[in-house]
């Protein structure tokens, strides 16, 4: 595709509105498109997306490709890859961006291989190289111990997935104008080789981890399921949520849905209490965007103290009750 042009974002819609992750993609996509002097477009897949298309324009898109097909009602890999292949053939983008989430993580590699091009997953920085005009894709590797920068030369589109909360959305501007283009998917049900037959929600009650302003996380050092109640008590004071490291989830102390880290959830709260966790790079990948990290750990050499802003060296079983009491008093006063 020698005439490849512009930036295309794979857009997701949640509850009828453009998903927060997609707003972030449009934000970075807009920056990349202006650096190239080329347009920004977004692909929206599924039925009933007229309102979302308008909203995507308000968040920065110049063009919206809408693919309406009953097979695209909910994400399934086979029809989505087929539909995106069509959109890419028509839009011929230079760059394609997806989110590193349930859908993007599953869709982007399939699409990259189908189109015979390169992909960098989980990028935390994306920019255009001034001389080559290629996309510079920076992503954590080795469990977050290192960063690597990649370029994809001689193939198009250059594909990247973006880590949640690594990029800023533009302010919504409803006066922005854009064009909406319909693409027929022409999908046949036989395209579906792997069919989703059931979806089961396991999310814990209360505030969503990703939205919580205060997150209290526990690690291997918590020592057991019952001790997480102490974290609940602290989180509750601030209307926050409880998270955990992979080690704590794998031990069966807490459900896997509250895992924070490279393969779990990405959070960026104002306050992140890291309790009895060592601060392995894989975990920090999920919380390094927190504004204030407060570490409580009895090992003064723990890696978490290298990442934290405030720390107490001590046994959490003694620290937490006093901390909860004092915070309660301060919040009441």
């Amino acid at each position: 595709m020698a005439d490849a042009k512009g930036v295309l974002v794979f857009g997701e819609v949640a509850d009828g509105t453009v998903a927060a992750a997609t707003q972030e993609l449009l934000g970075v996509g807009c920056r990349l498109a202006s650096a190239l002097g080329e347009p920004l477009s977004v692909a929206l897949l599924g039925p009933g997306l007229t309102a979302a298309a308008k909203e995507a324009i308000a968040f920065g898109a110049d063009k919206v490709y809408v693919v309406d097909d009953p097979l695209l009602q909910a994400y399934q890999p086979d029809p989505y890859v087929a539909a995106m292949e069509k959109v890419c053939a028509q839009a011929s983008p230079r760059i394609l961006l997806l989110s590193q989430n349930d859908v993007g993580r599953d869709l982007a590699p399939r699409l990259a291989f189908r189109l015979g091009t390169g992909l960098s997953t989980d990028c935390i920085d994306l920019c255009i190289d001034e001389s080559s005009k290629l996309l510079l894709e920076t992503r954590p590797v080795y469990g977050g111990n290192a960063l690597a920068q990649f370029v994809c030369e001689g193939c198009s589109p250059q594909i990247a997935t973006a880590r949640a909360k690594a990029f800023e959305a533009l302010a919504r501007d409803d006066s922005r104008q854009g064009e909406v283009i319909s693409i027929a998917a022409g999908l046949d049900a036989s395209v579906v080789r792997a069919a989703t037959v059931q979806k089961v929600k396991e999310e814990t009650e209360g505030v969503r981890l990703e939205d919580a302003v205060v997150v209290v996380s526990g690690g291997r050092g918590m020592g057991g399921a019952e001790n997480f109640q102490m974290l609940e008590a602290l989180a509750k004071l601030f209307g926050g949520a409880v998270g955990a490291t992979r080690a704590a989830c794998d031990s069966g102390w807490v459900p896997a849905t509250i895992q924070i880290g490279l393969t779990g959830k990405i959070v960026s709260p104002t306050v992140y209490f890291a309790v009895a966790l060592s601060g392995a790079s894989q975990h920090m990948a999920g919380c390094s965007g927190a504004k204030n990290i407060i570490a409580i750990n009895k090992d003064p050499e723990a890696n978490i103290f290298r990442a934290a802003h405030y720390g107490v060296v001590g046994d959490y079983k003694q620290v937490l009750p006093a901390l909860v009491e004092k915070c309660k008093e301060l919040l009441a006063g």
Binding site: F113, Q149, A194, V271, V319, A322
Partner: protein, 266 residues
Amino acid sequence: MNMIVCAKQVPDPEAPPATFKIDTAANKVIPPQGVAPVISPFDEQAVEAALRIKDAQGGKVSVITMGKNLLPDVVKKPLSMGADELYLLEDDAFENGDSYSNAYVLSLAAKKIGDYDVIFCGRQAADWDAGQVGMGLAEMLGIPCVTVARKVEAADGKLRVERVVSDGYEVVEVRTPAVITVSNELGEPRYATLKGIMAAGRKKPTVWNAGDLGADPAKSGGAGRKSKLMKLFIPVREGTCLIVEGESAAEAALNLALKLRADKVI
């Protein structure tokens, strides 16, 4: 059931972060001194997923490992857990590949083994964390793929897979042959038994090079990359942690609360 598992040898991801070093001139990770490499943890879970099916209904588990400087004690671990065959893909032409060229070479090995019902891979490898090879392999073989599995059952030429999503899980049905990528939610991989270790020690892996696989040198290893590594570096972390102290842990906690309030953090 004929099953293939792709298992990669990687530097131990549990090694202390301080032992992690990079040769910035060569853009390469320097293997840490005194820390043995391991099978990538998600790949070990992929071996476990295959063995559970073998336990339930019988079958054969063949493991493919591609790499250089492979250590017998490391790459034979799947055999000692209960896998039946081990294929090592060793050739300078396979070196420095990316997801694309690695999936290409693995797809040739899978075709050469042939007659497979399922190929298991880890959801991502602990070195480059890309999470692409399983899906790429499926694309190259023209078969379906289900990712991030926590449970896999086989019946009537179909696989029933529970896959992890952020708010729970999905049940997916897929016909065989298929590629399944496995996540840690599957549960702990089994330990090798003494009997397994003895048997693995006696077993001779099959070694294949580029010629054996008929691999196109232009599509393999570094030459077949779609994505070029420009820079590899350790991010700078500022060490500005304020350690709040006290006569006792409880007093330190109290001082922490006061400090956080004074700094308007809470």
